[in-house]
Every structure is written in structure tokens, then in C-alpha cells.
Symmetry: C2
Subunit: 360 residues, 2 copies
């Protein structure tokens, strides 16, 4: 069947295939007159442009970068912070003309996107570095950037200062005079419910770092927090059930530190539904400072991170890594750590003098 290729056009115009290729890809390599003629003929023949797959093979660039998300795509995507991260990535990517390919962790092993889809490099966002998907990317020797996960030698990484941020949050409630503190966190893998094992055992790096930060400050004040870990299964219940557990404890906490603002939202609802007040009865601190934090009533005290900047930094680092890979055999990546900042709003206050009973 009459598929139109560069050769078809070349024959029609009476030039070599290479010249037609240049007409599309390197306009400076031929005269403007000839180029216009070629483009006109191409248009008449219904030629759209050089075939992307063929071009990818010949030139060695796919024109897109991968993004590997933890677990199922599905799971990571429900998080609204992830959206902002994506937006940050696209800020950097769009001007370069690169596309972004989401690489789901495949359930099968016949087709595995991380192994079988063409990309020029990839961002690895909050994944288990031991996972098979990450393994494939490493073996392919693609330029990589690790984001929100433990830095690996030789691989560029972008992180926020989770530990310091969490530490500041915990120090804040300590300074307010709280002595009974609960932590509500979320993650995947490991045990759920009231957590007994030390933070080091957790798989998810972000969670581990924040837990270390919280216990840094609490430990220094000789406070042993109750850590409640809730699976990420029900997006609608984020933190609600965990908070109920915390409130039901004999020594009810007067402050709850949360892994994210989304969780803090659920925690606040649980507190209010139990007939208690925030911050008069229980103080709550979030993490992220997402747009909702400002609007929540009471406005949420939280640890700000600039997720969009994180996305930009990650994409920029990847672009550099790809550039470098073209010339040098292998570059050692830089490790970027972005700052966090405690934002004090209305959800934290000194602990109550006497503990009000939970109604309900």
C-alpha cells in the first residue's frame, strides 16, 4: 500500500532522501527555496513528518522522559500533591519539547513499561529502590533522577529536608508545652496500626525521614510519641480512623503530628466529630502546606514544602543528566535538598489545663 516516506517525497521532488530529511529536521542544511518545494510536495502527499519511531531508532532519542511512580499509578495519582509535582515537571519539560511518559509498574512480566517503553531518561518518584521497575531502569543505564527517596551513589537526586521539617513541627508542639503527642502517618508496606518497630525499618524513605525528624525533637524532650500508621487504602478516610484510635487511648494526646495536610484534614474532622476542639483540646500539625491547609478551619499549622519547585528541580536535573550522557560515559549526579519551613497558623495552641472528656 502506498505509504508515504521520505523516499516517496525524494522521488517526487527529484532529490536525495537525505535532503528531504534535512528539510524537516535541519532547515539550515538546504536552501529555503528547495525546502519550501519539498514541504509543499510533502504536504500534497499527505506526509505528516518523519516517523517518530524511525527517528527515535536512527537518532537515539525518543523525545520523551519517563516518570516512575510508586506502586500503581492509580494509587499515587489520587494524591493532589502529586499533581503539583507533575505541574512542576512540565514547567521545565514543555520548553524543551519533551513529553512525559508515565510508567506504571506492570502486574505481568511479558510487557513491562519500565523495560519496554522508549524514553530518554526517567524520574523515579518515591519508589522502593529495590522494586523490579527501578531495577529495569537501572539496568537500561538510563539517565535517572531519584525524587523523594533515598539517594543512591552515582544517581542524581532531589529531596526536601523532611527530617528537619518534621523536627521543627515536633519542636513547635514541644515548645507549646505538649507532653502527650501522637503521630499519624501513612505509607505502604510494613505493619499498620500502633507502630512498635523503630523508624529505620520503614520502606518508604519520606515516611522514615519524617519519623526520624519528629522523634529527634520529641526524644530530646523526653517524650515518647504514639505512632499510628494507616494504610493508604481508603483515600476518603485519610487519617480519620487513625485519629479515632489516638483519641481513644487512655492517655489521650494533646497534639497530633501528621504525615500530610490531607491526613491532618481527616484528623481534624475526627477530633471535631468526637466533640473536641482544635486547637483548644488537641493541636494538629500537617505537612506539605497544600492549598487546602490555608482554607481549612482552623487554618492548619504545617510544614511547607515547595512541591512545584521540587518538580522543576527534578526535571531540570534529568535534562542535564540526559545532556551529559550524550557526551560523557557516566556522570555522577548531584544531590539536591530543598528546604522546608514551619508555617504556624491556628491549629496549634498550648495544651489544655485539664483534659476534657470526649463526647459523642
Amino acid at each position: 500500500m502506498g505509504r508515504v516516506t521520505l523516499q516517496t517525497i525524494a522521488d517526487h521532488v527529484g532529490v536525495s532522501r537525505m535532503t528531504v530529511s534535512n528539510a524537516f529536521s535541519r532547515p539550515d542544511q538546504l536552501s529555503a527555496r528547495l525546502r519550501d518545494r519539498i514541504l509543499a510536495v510533502a504536504n500534497d502527499l499527505g506526509y505528516v513528518g518523519p516517523d517518530p519511531t524511525a527517528r527515535a531508532l536512527a537518532s537515539g532519542t525518543a523525545g520523551t522522559v519517563g516518570l516512575l511512580l510508586s506502586d500503581t499509578l492509580t494509587y499515587a495519582l489520587t494524591d493532589e500533591v502529586a499533581m503539583t509535582f507533575l505541574a512542576g515537571i512540565s514547567d521545565e519539560l514543555v520548553p524543551t519539547g519533551l513529553a512525559l511518559t508515565l510508567l506504571p509498574a506492570s502486574p505481568q512480566d511479558t510487557i513491562v513499561p519500565a523495560r519496554d517503553v522508549a524514553v530518554d531518561g526517567a524520574l523515579v518518584y518515591s519508589c522502593d529502590p529495590q522494586s523490579t521497575a527501578v531495577g529495569w531502569l537501572l539496568r537500561r543505564r538510563l539517565p535517572l533522577v531519584f525524587v523523594d527517596q533515598a539517594a543512591a551513589p552515582g544517581i542524581a537526586s532531589v529531596n526536601i529536608d523532611d527530617r528537619l521539617g518534621a523536627r521543627a513541627a515536633a519542636q513547635h508542639v514541644v515548645d507549646l508545652g505538649h507532653r502527650r503527642v501522637a503521630i499519624v502517618t501513612i505509607g505502604h508496606g510494613g505493619e499498620y496500626g500502633v507502630l512498635a518497630s523503630p523508624p529505620e525499618a520503614l520502606v518508604a524513605n519520606t515516611e522514615r525521614q519524617r519519623l526520624l525528624g519528629w522523634t529527634d525533637a520529641l526524644g530530646a524532650a523526653d517524650i515518647e510519641p504514639v505512632v499510628i500508621r494507616q494504610p493508604h487504602a481508603e483515600p476518603d478516610d485519610m487519617g480519620y480512623t487513625a485519629a479515632q484510635i489516638a483519641l481513644g487511648l487512655a492517655d489521650r494526646p494533646t497534639a497530633i503530628l501528621c504525615f500530610s495536610d490531607a491526613i491532618a484534614g481527616g484528623v481534624i474532622r475526627a477530633i471535631q466529630d468526637a466533640g473536641l476542639r482544635v486547637p483548644e483540646d488537641v493541636s494538629v500539625v500537617g505537612f506539605d502546606d497544600n492549598p487546602l491547609a490555608r482554607r481549612t478551619r482552623p487554618a492548619l499549622t504545617t510544614v511547607r514544602q515547595d512541591v512545584r519547585a521540587k518538580g522543576r528541580a527534578a526535571a531540570a536535573a534529568l535534562i542535564t543528566a540526559i545532556e551529559r550522557a550524550k557526551t560523557r560515559p557516566a556522570g555522577r549526579g548531584r544531590h539536591i535538598v530543598l528546604p522546608t519551613e514551619l508555617v504556624i497558623r491556628d491549629s496549634t495552641a498550648p495544651p489544655p489545663k485539664t483534659i476534657a472528656p470526649a463526647k459523642r
Copy 2:
């Protein structure tokens, strides 16, 4: 530089290149013994698997589908409804092993993802059908599915029943006895502020359809709504400013119909900040029924759409379209319309007998 290809492995094992290819891609074509031997040698040589770009060229499949989002990626992505849509897409895509490539509308014209990135088909989500990016996809004759935009002949589409949903929302406030109704909508392109032109003039199909639906019901009750259109620039102010305009009108509306729940959130805050109550002074209706709608206080009356199902339907339609394109020259796509449903909660009530003055 010893790059390892199928040939390298073939030479080592002493079989033909084709057999090595089959060992990876079509295990049933050779004996298990030989296959294991080949795989072992491949592993020793550090071979990861058939090169994705070469495979794409030779087999004619890229292993990924495109997603074209309106305008800048950046812009579409801040919307949390878009996230749920993505999750729905991945529900269908993941089991097939396909990846998802986000195709940003490029600002330049040397590299245009919609034209230059290899995909097996594409979803076009809420785009202007006249845009150049859509034009490229059409010219490439890729299997396409249009989502949330005007159906085009010969192209499969997935929509929700925006018009009927909006109509139900409007009918609801009419039934409650409201006579002064404002509409707060959002979109891109065209005039902003109090809208004078008829709905038909709007570019964005979703917005146009909902506007038609609202005016269907209001028109039948002989009510002329005030339509306020706010640009999508400031994601943090969604609906707030528009609501302030509405509340400042001489004939202050007693009901406000909103394009989305996110806008409704801003509208409610604006009403409350003006010292008025929802729903006693002003009723508010949203659209989407996103998770927040339930949590908002008061809980939001809204029009539910199943965004995730929409994503699933779109991806499924695309997969069928791709399947069919392999055999038949061109299939005419089906047009799917998903239902909407009015969910009545606490943000709507009969209008007040007397109009309370706005404080502040």
C-alpha cells in the same frame, strides 16, 4: 564499543538472531531448554531486553498511548478532577502493559510532541478541536478518542451528560423557589466578567453544554441568570472574586450555580466572608461531586459525575480503536455519554423571605 544486541547473543549461543528475538518476544516459538540458555547468556552479557525503539519501528507499536490535555499541561493538571480521570485511565491501561504519554502543547514548532512522539493512539481531553496539536494527531491518523469535547464524525468519544446535569441543578433551585440566580463559570478564551454573549459562542465544549443546560431550565421558568466568567489563572481564587461580583449586584442573587465543586468552594467562602449564610441567604450548587464536596460545611449540593469511570471508558475505547486499526483500515468510533446525577445536600434551601444586607 561493544554494544550488546540480539546478534551479539546469537553469535555467543550459536543460533540465529531470529531465535534470540523469539526467546524474548515469543517464547512459544522455541524449546524451553534453548530459551533458558539464551536468556542466561543474555543476562551474562548484560543485555536488558530488545531495544524499545527498534522494536517499535519493526513491529509498528510503541507500547504507549498519548494524552493530549488542554492548553498547557501545567494548567490542566492543577485540577484535582483531572487526577481522578488519570487514575481511571490507568485502571484500564495498566493490565494491558501500555504506558501513558502526556503530550504537552508545545510553544515552539520545531519539536511538537503531538507530532513527534511515538504513540499507538491518543486521548484528547477537553481540547479545542481546532488547535494545532489536535490537527497533528488527526493527520497522523492515529486512533483517537475525544473526551469532554464535541464529538467529531468518525472519531470515538466519551462525554458526560453535562447539559442534562446542569439542567437538573438549575431546575432544583427553580423548584426551591429561587428567582434571582447567578452562574459562576470558568474556562479559557473569550471574554471574562459578566457575560453578555450567548453560550453558543464559547470555545470550551463542557462549559458551553453546562451553560445550555442551566439556561434550559432557567429559561423555561422565565429567569434570566447573571453569568460571571472568571479566567482560570489563579487556582487559589477559584470562584471567590466572581462570587464577590455576584454578591455586589443590585439584585443580589439568592442562588449560585457553579461550574465545579472547586469553584463552589470559593463561592461559599466569599459568601461567608460577606457575612451571609449558606444556604439560608444564598444557595450554592456545584458540579462534579469531588471528594471535597461531601466534606465541605455545609455539605455541597452538586451534580455527580463519575470521573474515574469516564477515564476507564475513554481508555477502553482507545484500546478497542487501536485493536481495530490493526485490521480494518478505519473504524467509525462509538459515542459514549455517561450519566450525571443531582445530589442534594445542605448547601441549597428555599430563598430567604427578605434579603439580608451583606455586612463588611
